[in-house]
């Protein structure tokens, strides 16, 4: 290793360390945004407060803590019918590694439908539209389009709303009502007051991802931060359902044995030798 390579560093605003006297490769103290994590913060801060600090670099106010705490509980387990949890359970029933259950869950829970990317897009909508009904109507009717191809599929529905929903599900309304009560949140209060109008614009009911996006916007998290935090907060359910199904095994888990119906290949979709 050359001397100049040795000087390459990781730059961070989040973290500072002090080395142990006997080992330059071990930290004696770790500071997160100035707080001594193991010497002060541990035992004083709650997990949610520390999570907030990591993202925001400042401790949360009481109502911000309550908002994130409430959202974290609402998102922690989407239940075993949720796509991201199903992904984790597929790892479980096949006896795959535990890590692969979480990887699979994040992968499936990353998308435009109920996933991290939906939240990313929805927070962008919040940033663009704020509390203006006319701006939301315009944005939903004329969503932003991108000339370049992207690895992400284009959105097929208004972000934060469920294209396959009938009416706004009870848990979504319960979560919204609770968070409005504890959060002193402009975005959530406005969302609660205008939910039905927005649902009419979207032609779809509000989804949990839409509530999450409003919370993240209210906490002044960027779309990137919101996407990341949403995926993170949904992992506990994936973990426990994967473990449970691992114990029960593939025989007691749907395989959809009679579900696949093979159709004729449409002309042009399978060519012979070229």
């Amino acid at each position: 290793m050359t001397e100049s390579n040795k000087k390459e560093q990781i730059t961070t605003k989040i973290w500072r360390e002090v080395a142990e006297d006997d080992n330059p490769f071990a930290a004696a103290a770790c500071y997160c945004s100035g707080f001594d994590v193991y010497g002060d913060l541990l035992g004083k801060a709650t997990y949610i407060e520390y999570l907030y600090l990591l993202f925001k670099l400042e401790p949360p106010a009481e109502h911000q803590k309550n908002l994130l705490e409430g959202l974290a509980i609402a998102l922690a387990n989407p239940g075993p019918r949720d796509h991201s949890v199903r992904a984790a359970m597929n790892a479980g029933v096949g006896g795959s590694t535990r890590a692969s259950a979480l990887i699979a869950s994040v992968a499936v829970g990353a998308g435009n439908l109920g996933g991290g990317r939906e939240v990313y897009n929805a927070v962008q909508y919040w940033e663009h539209c704020g509390n203006s009904l006319s701006a939301w109507e315009e944005r939903i009717n004329n969503p932003p389009t991108e000339e370049r191809a992207d690895v992400w599929q284009p959105m097929e529905h208004a972000p934060g709303f469920d294209p396959n929903g009938a009416s706004c599900p009870t848990p979504v309304r319960q979560t919204l009502d609770y968070l409005v009560g504890v959060g002193r949140s402009d975005a959530l209060t406005w969302l609660q007051q205008n939910r039905e109008t927005l649902e009419a614009y979207a032609d779809a009911p509000l989804a949990m991802s839409g509530v999450a996006a409003a919370v993240f916007h209210d906490l002044a998290l960027t779309p990137d931060q919101s996407e990341m935090l949403f995926m993170l907060l949904r992992l506990p359910g994936a973990a426990v359902h994967a473990l449970e199904q691992e114990g029960l095994g593939w025989r007691r888990y749907p395989f959809f044995g009679d579900g696949l119906k093979l159709q004729e290949v449409p002309p042009g979709e399978s060519e012979g030798d070229l």
């Binding site: 990781i10 490769f25 399978s270």
Partner: protein, 266 residues
Amino acid sequence: MKNIFEKYEDNWETSMGGWFPGEKVILRGKNVLTELNDYRWVEYLLFGITGRHSPRIARLIEGMWLICTSFPDPRLWNNRIAALAGTTRATGVLGSAGALAISEATIYGLKPIQGVSDFLYRTSKKIANGSTLGDVVTSEIKKYRGIYGYGRPVVDQDERVEPLMAFARSMDAGNGHYTSLALEVDEYLSNSRYKYRINASGVVAGLLADEGITPEELYHIATLTFTAGVIPCYIDAVKKPEGAFFPLRVSRINSEGTAEPRVWGK
């Protein structure tokens, strides 16, 4: 109620394929065990993605993968995941899966690979509609601060371009419309104030567009393209002591955040 789910409940209608236990396997209407059993693996991959059987395109893809994307250097960002997985004694597949996932990057990997193909198709169409190459290139750079497939992190020159073109010529490829367009853009950029030069993904996209491969197809074809370079990095790291892969001492953290100690709750 507009719910579509009842129609799809226990009902996945598909012409893509399936496994009929103890009987047969079908891909795009072909019996894998009796009709596709002579395919080479990349031919099968190509057929699955595009519905086309072309030993020529499959051979082109194989050659491109070898020349361009299978460098076993553990410092490359995606390969480094495998090396880190090796040094922490995670499993090989987890290392490869992590490396595969991060290969969908912006400064290298899947976004440029798909993006430059998309750029070539769009540029060709715009030129056919009367734009000049210079206008298209300039407005692309202005809008996106760069063009996928041109420019490269770490070094300017791409040592893969020449061997890639030599390989293409050996396959009687390299003179098609899109490859020529890709090289014309390179020529234009080299004479402009922009210092970007064509990189391997630009050449690959041109060559495969000349074979009729779309940006979306190229994206899927390229999904596993880095794997042959990733796995050796894991194997190498596992052979060395635990944690030995480029260890970082505490002084390697450059803190730009709050320097003053703070006390929680005050």
